[in-house]
Symmetry: none
Subunit: 208 residues, 2 copies
Amino acid sequence: MAVSMSPKQKVYQEVLQEIRKLIDENKLKTGDKLPSERELSEKLGAGRSSVREALRAMELLGLIETKHGEGTFLSAYRPYQSVEVLASFILQETSTRNDLLQTKKKLEKEAAKMAYERLTDQNINELEKLTTDLSDDMKKQHLTYFTYLFTKTENLLLTRIWRLMEEYSHTMDAHYYDQKFYVELINIFRTRKYPSIESLFEDTVIIK
Amino acid sequence: MAVSMSPKQKVYQEVLQEIRKLIDENKLKTGDKLPSERELSEKLGAGRSSVREALRAMELLGLIETKHGEGTFLSAYRPYQSVEVLASFILQETSTRNDLLQTKKKLEKEAAKMAYERLTDQNINELEKLTTDLSDDMKKQHLTYFTYLFTKTENLLLTRIWRLMEEYSHTMDAHYYDQKFYVELINIFRTRKYPSIESLFEDTVIIK
DNA sequence: ATAAATAGGTGGTCAGACCACTTAACTATT
DNA sequence: AATAGTTAAGTGGTCTGACCACCTATTTAT
C-alpha cells in the first residue's frame, strides 16, 4: 500500500472541481453558458453520466440552471431549492407533530410582524375579504390568509419554508386557528397595536 | 397544447420524492440501509442512471452515505460536502443573503424565548462559560452558544432548520452578533426579563 | 479448525443509443 | 423579396447493457 493514498475521489466530485476551475479561469458569470455535457465529458475524460451526476447535484444546490435543448447556465445562487429539499427530508425524519406545528406557528407569527410594517389600509381590507369568504374551508382559508401575509414579508426564503411546513401539516389533522384569531389579527393591524401580535399568537391554540 | 400542463418534472426529481416516501413509509432511520440502486431502478421504473443522479445529489447534500460494495445508508445530516462545494462556487447575492440572515435571526430569537422557560440557574452558568471562552473565534462561539439554546427548545425540527441555515450562512461573510449581545442575553435570562428578548434581537445588528 | 478460493451482491463508470426540445439555417411558396 | 414551412444540428433527458472494484458470506481445500 502506498504511503499516502489520496482518498480516491469519485469521478463526479472531480468533475465538480474541474467545473469550478473552468468557471474561475473563464471568469464565467451568472447567466453564462457552460460547455455542453458531451463537451465536458470529452474534455475531462469522464463519461457523460458522471458529468451529469455532478451537474444534477449542482442543479439541486441551485448553482446552475438547465434548459432542455439549449444548455446549462450559471445561475444566481439561490439556496431555496436545496434548503427545500433538505428541509423536506429533515421534516420527514424528525417531524413530530408538535415540533412542526409549533415551528410553523412561530413562522406565522414572525410573518405577521414583518407584514405589519408594510401593510396599507388597502391591504388590510383585502386581507379582511379573505376571512369573510365562507366558500372555502378553514384549511384553504388559513392558507390564503397567510400566503397573503408572507408575500408582504418580502422574504422569499422564509415564505418557502413556511409553505413547505404548511403542506406537511395538511397530512396531519390540525393546522389552523380559531376563526376569531384571524379577525383579531386584522383588528390589531388596523389599530396599530404591534405588541399585541406576540401575545395573540402566544395565547392562541391550534385547532384540532 | 393541453390546457393544464404539469411542469413535467425530471425523473431524478421524482426519484428523490419517491425515496423520501419510501423512507417515510418504512420508517427508516439514520444508519438504515436503502434499497440497492438496481432495486430502486426496477421498483420505480426508472433507469439506474436516473436513480444515481438522485442519489449523488442526496450524497452531496449529506443526506446519505455510500459505501462501495456494501450499499447506501441514511446518514445523520452532515452538510460538510454541500457547504464546501457551495463555498467554492458562490457569488453572493444580496437579496438572498438578506433573506437567509433575517430568517436565521428570527429563529434564534424564538429559540431564545423558548429556552428562557426551561433554563435553570445552572444552565445559565454553563452558557456564560461558553461566552467567556476566548480560544474560539466568533463564528464558533456563536454556533456553540446557540446550539446550547436550541437544545433547550426541545424542538428538534426547529433546531435542524436553524442548523441548516447556520451552515449556509458560513458560506457568506456575516453570521454573528456583537459581543455585548451574548452577554446581555444571559443577563436577561438571569433577571427574568422575558419581554426584553424581543427588543434585544430587534435592536441588534448582524456583524459584517 | 483454519485459511484460501469463490460466488453473489453492491456501488462506480463508461459507451452508445434514442427521445424531446430549441435554434438557426435552408427551402419552397406567395 | 418577404414569408412560411421544413430541415438539420446541437443540447439536455433517459435508458440499457456492459464491465470494473469492493465487500461479505459461503464454500472449499489444507
